[in-house]
């Protein structure tokens, strides 16, 4: 029940309910897999918003516990993927491999045109690679019915235009579509309400989506993705249209979802964000994976300079100690 305590803190006050966690929550999914740790807990509570319900609903829907329960297990995996777009002479993704693991926030970084979005499309199942395999829990992506796939992984794209003036609440509710006519349908109202809350959209719930600013629309799209309650999350530059506070909110939500056991892959432009929140970073350059590993191992000054062609300094933040990237000017 400590989840209550944690949730109460939510996004607004990370860190404040830390003590409640490890002690009072031995039976939660987190406790069971031994993911304790104070720094982790407050985040975990926050997206309880879209979050904690995910493993629960997945279990109901599939009849068996999703492998996502096992932290570190590879959920989404691309192996030696090569993509040559129609009409292009050269492949834009070459022999790329990536494993997105349960409980990890995996950042995809690289310069413009490095193939991030294409690799993202491959992971989302939108692009069928010309060579290589993509699989979810060991099953090839193409072999999974779209509806069953939609109950396991949610995708946030950069493009979030909505054609008609649906209200924000209606748009978020669309995220519940995969759960129609399943027992998890009972959770719809609660999941939508939580997603609206965690994305700071409650005051806008009744507004028409087409009348909102780009940043508000982006948050509505994120809320929709959270309401989908999947434990594999793919986010394509989720911070792009947002102000500083909401950027941090989104990163916190993504990280918290990972802490709850979700496998989260995020395309990021902001290297500092990648250094600050990612558990693992894959650096792409000209369609190839240059390096993959912990953020501080991958995002070194020399690697960044080599890939981006811009000299940088990487130094520890004076307060937090997290590495910070600063272009040399």
């Amino acid at each position: 029940m400590s989840a209550t305590a944690l949730g109460a803190v939510g996004l607004s006050a990370p860190g404040s309910a830390v003590t409640a966690n490890g002690a009072a929550d031995p039976e939660s999914a987190l406790g069971a897999v031994g993911l304790s740790g104070t720094a982790i807990a407050p985040g975990a509570a926050a997206p309880g918003a879209g979050g904690l319900s995910a493993p629960g609903s997945a279990v109901t829907a599939n009849g068996a516990a999703a492998p996502g329960a096992v932290l570190g297990a590879v959920r989404l995996s691309a192996r030696e993927v090569t993509v040559t777009p129609n009409g292009a002479a050269d492949p834009v993704v070459i022999d790329a491999a990536i494993d997105v693991r349960a409980g990890e926030l995996h950042a995809l970084v690289g310069p413009n045109g490095a193939g991030k979005s294409t690799l993202f499309g491959v992971l989302a199942g939108d692009i069928t690679p010309d060579a290589g395999d993509v699989s979810l829990d060991g099953t090839p992506l193409r072999g999974i019915h779209p509806l069953l796939l939609a109950r396991q992984r949610a995708v946030l794209l950069q493009q979030n235009a909505v054609s008609f003036p649906f209200t924000v609440e209606q748009v978020v509710r669309m995220g519940r579509a995969p759960w129609a006519r399943t027992p998890a349908e009972d959770d719809d109202d609660a999941a939508v309400a939580r997603a609206l809350q965690v994305t700071d959209l409650v005051p806008l719930a009744g507004r028409g989506i087409t009348s909102l600013s780009g940043g508000e629309r982006a948050r509505a799209a994120l809320a929709r993705v959270l309401a989908q309650a999947c434990d594999v999350l793919l986010l394509d530059e989720p911070t792009a249209a947002l102000d500083l506070k909401h950027q941090e909110d989104v990163l916190r939500i993504a990280r918290a979802r990972a802490r709850e056991g979700a496998a989260v892959a995020v395309v990021l432009h902001d290297l500092n964000a990648a250094l600050g929140v990612a558990d693992r970073v894959t650096l792409l350059s000209r369609g190839r994976v240059v390096a993959s590993g912990t953020p501080s191992d991958v995002l070194t000054a020399s690697a960044i300079e080599a890939v981006y062609g811009q000299p940088v300094d990487v130094f520890p933040h004076p307060v937090s100690g997290t590495p910070v990237v600063m272009p040399r000017r």
């Binding site: 029940m1 400590s2 989840a3 209550t4 305590a5 949730g7 109460a8 803190v9 939510g10 607004s12 006050a13 404040s16 309910a17 409640a20 009072a24 939660s28 309880g48 918003a49 979050g51 904690l52 319900s53 995910a54 493993p55 629960g56 609903s57 279990v59 989302a124 939108d126 779209p146 939609a150 949610a154 794209l157 493009q159 979030n160 235009a161 909505v162 054609s163 008609f164 003036p165 649906f166 209200t167 609440e169 209606q170 748009v171 669309m174 995220g175 579509a177 995969p178 129609a180 959770d187 109202d189 609660a190 939508v192 309400a193 939580r194 965690v198 409650v202 719930a205 009744g206 929709r224």
Partner: protein, 411 residues
Amino acid sequence: MTAPVSTAGATKARADGAEAATAEAGSAGTATAGSAGSAGSAGTATTVARSAGTATAEVVTAVPRTHRRRRFGLVTAGLSAAIVIVVVVSLGLGQYWLAPAQVVGVLLQAVGIETAWAPDAPTAAGVILDIRLPRIVLGLLVGAALAVSGVLMQAIFGNPLADAAVVGVSSGAAFGAAASLTFGLAVFGMWTTPAFAFSGGLVAVFSVYLISRSGDRTEVVTLLLTGIAINAIAGAGLAFLTFLGTTSTREQIVFWQLGSLNGALWQNIALVAPIVAIGVAAAVFVAHRLDLFALGERTARHLGVRVELLRVTVIVMVALLVCGAVAFAGIIGFVGLVVPHLMRMAIGPAHLPLMISSALGGALLIAVADLIARTAVPLADLPIGMITSLVGGPFFLWLLLRTRRKAGGWG
């Protein structure tokens, strides 16, 4: 043990200056999910949390939702009542004039209920049941078909300006129907003309779709320009068929291009009614998935929609509905544009209620337009397509101007 922790958490949140109510509600929701994950470890906690979670949900969502439902109920009831009134009035008006009570008397008599209202003259029943009623019923079916086809096209094109006539589907269908007449074909018996209209409409709507789509969406300008091209091609075909045809087929082709419900027979309705019923039922069936289309095709796919299948299904349904409308009534423009737009303004864009209210709205619009067509000029039967275009043209312009003001126009 659970309660104290929970309280502590909530208090903490308050102390931290978070919006207490929001934070608490959020916590309850979280607890629900958490308990589910831990396989019902704490029964009471689950119950408490679940009820609290539901309460939150109601606070956030219940108000606009019930509001919308009530609106939909009102609109549906209003449209239905208006249709009944217009139909009764329309049955009584014309060269042979009958009071609404007499009309009701005749209708009741027809279904075996004798009332004092029924007029004595036997011609009254004949005029109403054999001449006016089939015409009005065909009008209702055509109106519903056109409006629903408009909603369907707007949904798959992600574009509120898609309409059977604008995009050229109606001309395609009319071309198919005209071809079957000019060449005197009867390969499918009485189904020949509708079948050719269907083929023509299908070819047109597929062409428009394939040509005007780029990437995930359809640009308004591309869609409208494609419509112009398709209309031009179908128009050339119709002109050629008019040139080839005999005097009587020429007359029929001209009649198609103008649109008219004159001369509707019960046999026509026996054909059109099942087509429209199937089309509307299928449209209602896919309505929820069409909502997801508004997010773009990629996102719809991520939400479990089999996009390609749905797209093809909807295109076939559009062709079916348009052929049902065009086969006996010709090209009646703008119904699919005006009606869904007004309905969206009244009840919002969710496709299930939109589909139902648009079907009713389309039926009403045609019923009114046909009443005007029949009675506006004494002893003359105006083409109904002219009336709907007279309403639809200015409406289209108003839409353009409004969009230009609001969003700087279409790129």
